[in-house]
């Protein structure tokens, strides 16, 4: 039944079994924690190097653009800016009084609420969709600072159909690890440069819930070109994002 232990009293077997089990578990846990720590340390290094690589890449891109423009001007020709590969859309009108086709398109773009924002890859299909819903949205080409600020301040990920804030790189890794995106900087790079896994990265990001713009909108009902707010405003979207973030 039991065994004779220190005090001389009989220790029930179940207690001994439990003790052994607890020891084994504690050992396994300690080993796991050590391995995790080592992996984390290695990861941190990897993430740091990647982030360094990305900043170099962004700087190089900017410099290259300027250089190409200067070269073209020297030869008397023109250097046409490459068209933007991705853009940021913000829904600026409410839910009421919308025709069903536009409503459906906004749903497909995940813009179900006013002042929701999403990133979008540019291709013929999406451009035509945007054209259909132009009076209800404003969009443009975000720069690095906009993407960074949006993801750091208002970035939430879709894990298990839940909206989880991006507080740690592990959350990004959980969601997008299988594509090689293990940290927030990776995510930003993927979005900004419309890399091969843009679709998955973008879908992982829950649509941004922005606040109403400080200082107001000019005139929702008109197109940006006519003095209003709707439609393509190219680089001025960055200024709007600063006010809405």
């Amino acid at each position: 039944m039991g065994e004779v232990a220190k005090g001389g009293a009989i220790v029930p077997e179940s207690v001994l079994k439990k003790q052994k089990r607890n020891e084994e578990w504690a050992l396994a846990k300690k080993q796991e924690a050590q391995e995790l720590k080592k992996k984390n340390a290695a990861n941190r290094k990897l993430i740091f190097n990647r982030a360094k690589h990305y900043t170099k890449e962004y700087e190089a891109q900017d410099k290259e653009l300027i250089q190409l423009k200067r070269e073209a001007r020297l030869k008397g020709g023109f250097y046409v800016n490459p068209e933007a590969k991705m853009l940021f859309i913000i829904r600026i009108r409410g839910i009421n009084a919308m025709d069903p086709k536009s409503k459906k398109i906004l749903q497909l773009l995940r813009l179900r609420q006013i002042f929701n924002g999403v990133f979008l890859k540019v291709n013929k299909a999406t451009l035509n969709m945007l054209h259909r819903v132009e009076p209800y949205v404003t969009y443009g080409y975000p720069n690095l600072k906009s993407v960074r600020e949006l993801i750091y301040k208002r970035g939430y990920g879709k894990l298990n159909k839940q909206r989880i804030p991006l507080t740690d790189n592990s959350i990004v890794e959980q969601g997008l690890g299988k594509f090689g995106i293990i940290c927030v900087e990776d995510l930003i790079h993927e979005i900004l440069t419309a890399a091969p896994h843009f679709k998955e990265a973008n879908n992982f990001l829950w649509p941004f819930k922005l606040k109403a713009p400080l200082g107001g909108l000019k005139k929702k009902r008109n197109h940006y070109v006519e003095g209003g707010d709707a439609g393509n405003r190219e680089n001025f979207i960055n200024e709007l994002i600063r006010r809405m973030n």
Partner: protein, 177 residues
């Protein structure tokens, strides 16, 4: 002084097709508040002049044009076409200003106040700096005097920008020069 209207040089062309490998490149100088609007205006005018639209064309370059001598006073003549309530009319106006952008801004505000024409109904056809001899309007010619002297009879102290204007003030204005 920040002007609302900036002058842009916009260069564009139709997209190259199989029949036309090197389509003609068109350049236009126009006024707009910012680049996005300038591009839109460019396509508006180009559509009216050539068979090309934004969808089958490409923008090659857009640059802002700055005033070469913003410290000298010049007489600007502006030819414009505007839409009134009853139809389109041409007009020639003269302004005395240091920069062309300033002159254009004067023109837009004057058209709005005198003729109730909003800025989207105005098309600037041509602008030129006019030597003093060829000015036609009395209101600019009256300043063509190198020894000009006129008193400022009373001085109203205004806030430097309209943003700082308040409706109520603690004291009555003192207009003494």
């Amino acid at each position: 002084m920040s002007y609302k209207f900036h002058q842009f040089q916009v260069v564009g062309r139709g997209l190259p097709t199989e029949t036309d490998e090197h389509p003609k490149i068109y350049r236009m100088k126009l006024w707009a508040t910012n680049e996005v609007r300038a591009k839109s205006k460019f396509w508006y005018f180009l559509r009216k002049l050539k068979r090309v639209k934004k969808s089958n064309g490409q923008m090659l370059a857009i640059n802002e044009i700055f005033e070469k001598n913003p410290t000298t006073i010049k007489n600007y003549g502006i030819w414009l076409r505007y839409q009134s309530r009853t139809g389109y009319h041409n007009m020639y106006k003269e302004y005395r200003d240091t920069t062309l952008n300033g002159g254009i801004e004067q023109m837009y505000t004057e058209m709005a106040s005198r003729h109730r024409v909003r800025h989207h109904c105005i098309q600037v056809i041509k602008t030129a700096t006019i030597p003093a001899k060829l000015c036609k309007r009395e209101s600019t010619k009256q300043f063509h005097n190198s020894k000009i002297k006129f008193p400022l009879v009373f001085k109203k102290v205004r806030p430097p920008t309209r943003k700082l204007k308040t409706t109520y003030k603690a004291s009555r204005p003192n207009l003494f020069v």
